[in-house]
Symmetry: C2
């Protein structure tokens, strides 16, 4: 019988340090991840069975399952009931980009309110905010500054309803950062966010102090209250040359 990958892993890996501050399940997940990083386990290979791992490392089944669940959540292995657990190949499609990477642009920004007015909802606004056409809405235009440079141009329509405290809160200049970082005790239940690449128009380029043509990222958002009514529709536009998203696929280090 040939040496199968599982056996190498069981034989050539360190044991779990019960004195460590690091939980056993995390150590075990790292041992398995390390085995993949070293090539002991290659894409497609089957991991040792849970029973084997229990015996080899002297931990309980629940601890093994937790370690494997972590790897499965991270997308590096694939569990199939009745068959086994297998190493996933690297796939570019697994890449995910976090908006929070732009924290340096949103986070410490100062907010300049360019306009705050009450306007009647046109067809488009009425549809997005689920109100009747002609209903009064609050329209706000803001410029977010960071390091003395304009980072984002933000336009937003808010449902106008004196009974909704969210509207008052939104007018505060700090509200935007709270919305981004989630520090507010907000009355929002959830939101839909869309990312697009666009060209700046003349007004946007002027405010963002650049020349045309210029590529830009546009983040459109709709936020809903606890009755599932939209309360805010708006979009952030920022110069593409000051933004990039990076991520990794496959084995994460550590």
């Amino acid at each position: 019988m040939a040496h199968r990958p599982q056996n190498k892993v069981l034989q050539e890996t360190p044991s779990i340090d019960r004195e460590s501050f690091e939980p056993a399940y995390a150590q075990l997940a790292n041992i398995l991840r390390q085995s993949m990083a070293e090539g002991l386990l290659r894409p497609g290979d089957q991991l040792p069975s849970e029973a084997q791992i229990v015996a080899r490392y002297g931990v309980s089944p629940m601890t093994v399952r937790r370690a494997i669940n972590i790897l499965a959540d991270q997308g590096v292995v694939n569990t199939e009931q009745g068959r086994g657990t297998f190493v996933k190949p690297v796939a570019m499609s697994a890449a995910s980009f976090q908006l929070g990477q732009l924290q340096n642009l949103f986070g410490g920004a100062t907010v300049q309110v360019l306009e705050a007015s009450i306007v009647a909802a046109d067809e488009r606004v009425a549809r997005k905010l689920a109100v009747r056409q002609g209903k009064r809405t609050i329209y706000i235009r803001r410029l977010l500054w960071n390091h003395d440079q304009p980072a984002f141009y933000h336009r937003e329509y808010l449902v106008y309803d004196p009974a909704r405290p969210i509207v008052e809160a939104e007018l505060e200049v700090t509200a935007l950062q709270q919305l981004f970082s989630g520090r507010s005790e907000s009355l929002l239940k959830h939101g839909d966010i869309t990312m697009e690449a666009t060209l700046l128009d003349e007004e946007e380029a002027c405010l963002l102090q650049t020349s045309l043509p210029m590529a830009a990222f546009c983040f459109e958002h709709v936020f809903y209250d606890f009755d599932n009514h939209p309360v805010s529709w708006g979009w952030f536009i920022g110069r593409a040359d000051r933004m990039r998203f990076t991520t990794q696929v496959g084995l994460l280090l550590e």
Copy 2:
């Protein structure tokens, strides 16, 4: 003593159906999520303690922890040891965009090889692929077609090394799709991926059959083998008007 949010949750929620196909931990996570969706638990509120949940729903502590871990992983609650578990406010920065959303563009695409040649590495290529300047590399230009429309223009430099099977595999026209969807038994260990918004240049616009100026998404990638040597550097460019990323923050439905 006032009715605190926890009590409402404990009193006004359904019990766990032990006959259901849905595991107890998933049911419990949904019950808690539903409590937030209904406003029984608002951002900042403390969840019932694990001991209370154990008593109320008649499940073991491990099952409760698993349910809460799921909510914590999804970013809707926040656990603090010694203090409790709390509902997180909605934060736009929590948005994450999955490259896999473009599966319709990458997935069923047919690949047209425009060029495949051997070129000497210039300074930039040598740096990205960690080889000496002047070393021979393989340069490939491809056009990905989808529904009879050009979807992506892809350029890629590969380390030229007859001992590396990856190079041969990459030349196959199907390799790109495999890379994206991860079906191949690849020899790649991990990759770095960067997303930017750019303007198309003339050549790109021509190949993608559009006019200037046009915004575009650019996905740059570097893939590494199991020795942590880069083997591939390239980038996909696609028209922005045919791509958008959407996601949600806060409470996910179901």
